[in-house]
């Protein structure tokens, strides 16, 4: 029986697990996928917004500001990238300039460094900035991170400190158990080898407290224990998460990326608009659009969505090196129906805590969400008689991963001499060695799929998109996981990468009669 069960291991679930792993209590995190960070965390703008944008008095405003201030230290401690690249919010014409000054005023009020620059001056610093831009709001504290690497590092550290991670576990039912002190019995299906293939095992765990951090599925999970999905305050509103799709283009990494800081247009009604974002890995993201969808797995790109991004990016960029596009993707924001984050204990189900509707600025707020949940939402009484928050005396830090590109020549050669696999480049686009790929599989919360390797160490993220290195990665994964090559999955369990291997090639062949 766990003190806390976290449902969902996106950036929010991972921060929650990490926060709780510092204290003397037992916790587990479950996810239906075979990896952490598979939903919105895998597909978003990757920005730590400075925090001037959310409306006054909201949780979004408070937690964004707090979260943004914590990020740099957190990333440094976890050895994951964090770049304070700064941002320009670009206004064209008087109307937009008015909004810009309003944003400037809010930034100042909240203690965020900000200044207003002339369009021409800004273009000296960002040569690709649109010539229509007349004024920009410069925010030097805007930063970028790698959301999935951050999530994975947080979970790795949580696991090192006792959190149990249950992947491939889909929550199918939640029973309330007032007796025995345990409040919940959670039923799950385990999807090893894929649901379709009939490999479904069942599992049950018990927990005193549930943290519902299931992203776009928060309302469904809440519905398992409280069909009315009641929220605090206004009893008329029932929790509803309406996924809102955002589509993006990715530009290849270049010696000198097209933009060196985040370029926002002046925000509109449906969000922050279409941005240009330099990533921590030297790529540039263009997007997102913003459209409501009913499909919670609707991360498909659409012709209209991509067209919209192409059209709207012109607000901030004069020209776009379209030939450098290497990928497009789409993500779903978990948009709640209250206008703010929904972070509260259920008024109907004591001990069931919703951490829902974490749309933008969710990534920026995530560290503050975790501390807010622990300090203000979780009550000692929830864990039974005599519970007090006690910090662990010893806290195990995550080992910094070997990133060959970042080492000095001497360090590199020392590494290769000790372990020659660090000298064998598998991914020629991103220059990733076999040793780094092996590390990404062997470490706690290691990769279990081609996509898992790609998320952790980036082979396949480059301009060839895996065309050259994928067979090699399949071989390494099979060897490291002790499975056959045809059992290696691209992403989700049970989805075969190949149709046939070697000896089975002969099955289902055509015969001459077909000619």
């Amino acid at each position: 029986m766990y003190d806390v069960l976290i449902i969902g291991t996106g950036i929010v679930g991972c921060f929650l697990a990490h926060e709780l792993s510092h204290y003397e209590l037992s916790s587990a995190a479950v996810d239906r996928e075979n990896d952490v960070a598979c939903g919105a965390t895998m597909a978003n703008s990757a920005i730590i917004h400075a925090g001037n944008d959310p409306e006054d008095g909201t949780l979004k405003a408070r937690l964004n500001l707090e979260g943004a201030r914590q990020y740099e230290d957190i990333c440094n401690n976890l050895h994951v990238p964090y770049e304070k690249v700064g941002s320009f919010t670009a206004a064209a014409g008087e109307e937009e300039e008015k909004t810009l000054f309003e944003l400037y005023r809010k930034a100042k009020e909240r203690g965020i460094s900000a200044s207003i620059l002339d369009g021409a001056e800004a273009r000296k610093m960002e040569p690709l900035l649109s010539s229509h831009v007349t004024k920009v709001l410069a925010l030097p504290d805007t930063a970028v991170v790698c959301p999935w690497e951050t999530a994975e590092a947080l979970m790795e550290e949580a696991v090192l400190n006792g959190t149990e991670l249950l992947l491939n576990h889909q929550v199918t039912g939640i029973e309330r158990m007032e007796e025995n002190g345990s409040r919940f019995r959670v039923h799950m299906e385990i999807h090893r080898g894929g649901k379709e293939n009939g490999n479904i095992e069942k599992a049950v765990v018990e927990a005193k407290v549930i943290l519902n951090a299931a992203g776009v599925f928060c309302d469904d999970i809440y519905g398992l224990v409280c069909p009315e999905r009641t929220l605090k305050g206004d009893s008329e509103i029932r929790m509803k998460i309406g996924p809102r799709r955002g589509e993006y283009f990715v530009l290849d990494r270049q010696e000198k990326p097209a933009v060196s800081r985040v370029l926002y247009p002046v925000p509109g009604k449906t969000g922050k608009g279409v941005l240009a974002v330099p990533t921590v890995h030297g790529n540039v993201l263009l997007g997102p659009d913003s459209r409501d969808t009913s499909d919670k797995e609707g991360i498909d790109n659409t012709a209209e969505g991509l067209e919209y991004v192409k059209e709207q990016i012109g607000k901030v960029l004069e020209t776009v090196p379209w030939l450098k596009i290497i990928r497009s993707f789409a993500g779903l924001r978990a948009k709640g129906n209250t206008g703010d984050f929904i972070i509260e204990e259920s008024p109907e189900v004591p001990g069931f805590i919703n951490v829902a509707g974490i749309e933008s600025p969710g990534l920026s707020s995530a560290p503050a969400i975790a501390s807010y949940v622990r300090k203000d939402i979780l009550k000692e009484r929830m864990f039974g008689e005599g519970f007090t928050w006690r910090k662990k005396v010893e806290y195990q830090r995550r080992k910094p991963p070997v990133i060959m590109e970042r080492l000095s020549r001497e360090e590199k050669n020392r590494m290769i001499a000790a372990n020659p696999t660090y000298g064998k480049i598998v991914c020629r686009c991103e220059r990733i060695s076999e040793g780094e790929i092996i590390d990404s599989i062997r470490k706690p919360v290691g990769a279990r799929s081609i996509k898992g390797v790609k998320k952790r160490v980036r082979p396949g993220m480059g301009r060839c998109q895996g065309g050259f290195c994928e067979p090699e990665i399949v071989r390494i994964l099979a060897r490291e996981l002790g499975i056959r090559e045809e059992e290696v999955v691209y992403d989700r369990e049970g989805v075969r990468l190949f149709e046939a291997m070697e000896k089975s090639l002969t099955e289902g062949r055509r015969t001459d009669e077909a000619l």
């Binding site: 283009f249 990715v250 010696e255 797995e297 991360i299 498909d300 790109n301 659409t302 012709a303 991509l306 596009i325 290497i326 990928r327 497009s328 993707f329 020549r409 590199k412 050669n413 290769i416 001499a417 020659p420 696999t421 660090y422 000298g423 064998k424 480049i425 020629r428 686009c429 220059r431 301009r463 060839c464 998109q465 895996g466 065309g467 050259f468 994928e470 067979p471 090559e485 045809e486 999955v489 691209y490 992403d491 989700r492 989805v495 075969r496 990468l497 190949f498 149709e499 046939a500 291997m501 070697e502 090639l505 002969t506 099955e507 289902g508 062949r509 055509r510 000619l515």
Partner: protein, 439 residues
């Protein structure tokens, strides 16, 4: 720092041919750096036949062609490092590489030959709407899986793009038990060699849909179907022409791009048309002593052409190493070549008079923009017509060559002009002629 006269980045057909020809010209210290486990490059996975007719006078498979070169390289005792990745090339011709035995290493070269080959345009570059499921591969990746790993990536296959690798994979997968439902080509003509259309598609009754493209990929985790649409003359899909095909795999054969990440990083100027380095008539890039040949320079159709270009580059590098040439002084008096109407590129981009004089002329390589019948290729300098060659058929999928003789260049007095660099323009004119038509 270790010194080599010549370092060659890439041990495929271009690199091996360059090394052998440099050795023939007397270059003694040569180093070939190859990423793969063995020399041969992409030839090792091109198990079909059709290689070597020009080079060896017989038709070989890709691996057999590679093996002949590998033997010659071994016989010449040319130093080779495999499983070695070139990381950086400097303008000063220093070359940094990494492998498991030596770690990170920098060597100094007298001359460098770029022979890194090309890569395939991936799906991401196309922005096809839909999910990003497993089951979408470039044709070359599927070829590698099938021919080197023995694994068939799909059972029901659609192919986007009629490039040669795509068509060859259509046949390969059919032979191995897959069903290839069709090939969609966005252009109104096939992008591969006509013979591949015949023996890879027509032989097996695989339909080729010209002026069609894939407008949607269906399937969340694995490809379940593709939707193809007819396109208009601007290559935009025409609504209402959608057809859905249930397949588990989509292969992409939508173009090859010279692999120039290293060249770009080195600051070697590239030609926007070929996407490879801009070179002079000695295959030398705009950086002195750095040469380029094969698919890194421009994408070829035939390995025989690649080997020949490698030989030429190897020979030129050897000449560079042996000191200033007779023509070297003419460097300041180069002619530049430019692709005009009807051509997508012409190469070399610059001609040194010394090369043209020594070799009795220059062989220009070019591609046409669309299919031509009964066309004349004109080479002009300003208004003056230097040369005109008539051709019955020209297709974008076939690289063409034209020889311009030294006399033709010199009698125009081109190298003596003082009003800037003279420009040779290559233009295609379609002649109104008897159209023989299809019966």
């Amino acid at each position: 720092m270790k010194h080599y006269e010549l370092v060659i980045a890439g041990g495929g057909s271009a690199g091996m041919a360059a090394a052998l020809s440099a050795r023939r010209e007397g270059v003694s210290s040569i180093l070939i750096l190859e990423q793969g486990k063995e020399l041969g490059g992409v030839l090792l996975q091109c198990i079909h036949n059709g290689f070597g007719l020009h080079t060896f006078g017989e038709e070989l498979t890709g691996p057999a062609y590679a093996e002949r070169y590998i033997r010659m390289v071994k016989k010449e005792q040319i130093e080779t490092k495999t499983e070695t990745t070139v990381l950086h090339i400097g303008k000063d011709r220093s070359v940094t590489y990494v492998n498991s035995q030596e770690g990170y290493m920098t060597v100094q070269a007298g001359a460098v030959i770029l022979a890194m080959g090309c890569r395939e345009r991936p799906r991401g570059a196309l922005s096809i709407p839909g999910y990003r499921p497993a089951g979408v591969w470039t044709a070359g990746a599927a070829q590698r899986y099938l021919n080197l790993e023995g694994c068939l990536v799909g059972r029901r296959v659609w192919i986007l793009g009629s490039g040669d690798i795509g068509m060859i994979m259509a046949r390969r997968m059919t032979l191995e038990g897959a069903e290839v439902l069709g090939v969609a080509e966005v252009m109104p003509y096939s992008n591969g060699l006509p013979r591949n259309r015949r023996q890879c598609l027509e032989d097996f009754g695989i339909p080729l849909y010209l002026s069609h493209t894939v407008t949607r990929i269906i399937g969340k985790e694995r490809v379940e179907a593709v939707v193809i649409s007819r396109v208009d003359e601007n290559r935009r899909p025409i609504p209402g022409t959608e057809q859905e095909f249930a397949v588990d795999t989509l292969l992409l054969s939508v173009g090859l791009i010279p692999e120039n990440a290293l060249s770009e990083e080195a600051g070697i100027p590239l030609d926007g048309r070929t996407k490879g380095p801009s070179v002079n008539s000695a295959y030398e890039s705009e950086i002195a002593g750095i040469f380029a040949c094969g698919n890194v320079l421009h994408v070829h159709d035939l390995v025989d052409q690649v080997s020949r270009e490698g030989e030429q580059a190897g020979k030129a590098a050897a000449a560079y190493l042996s000191g200033p040439q007779a023509g070297e002084a003419g460097k300041t008096m180069e002619i530049s070549a430019e692709a005009g109407e009807g051509l997508s590129y012409v190469l070399p981009q610059r001609i040194r008079p010394g090369d043209a004089e020594r070799d009795g002329g220059i062989e220009f390589k070019f591609r046409v923009r669309r299919s031509f019948r009964q066309a004349a290729l004109e080479v002009r300098a300003g208004e003056a017509l230097i040369k005109s060659v008539r051709k019955k058929y020209m297709e974008p999928s076939v690289m063409e060559t034209v020889q311009v003789k030294w006399e033709e260049l010199s009698h125009m007095g081109l190298f003596r002009r003082e009003d800037g660099i003279p420009v040779l323009r290559f233009i295609l004119r379609e002649e109104a002629g008897r159209d023989e038509g299809d019966a």
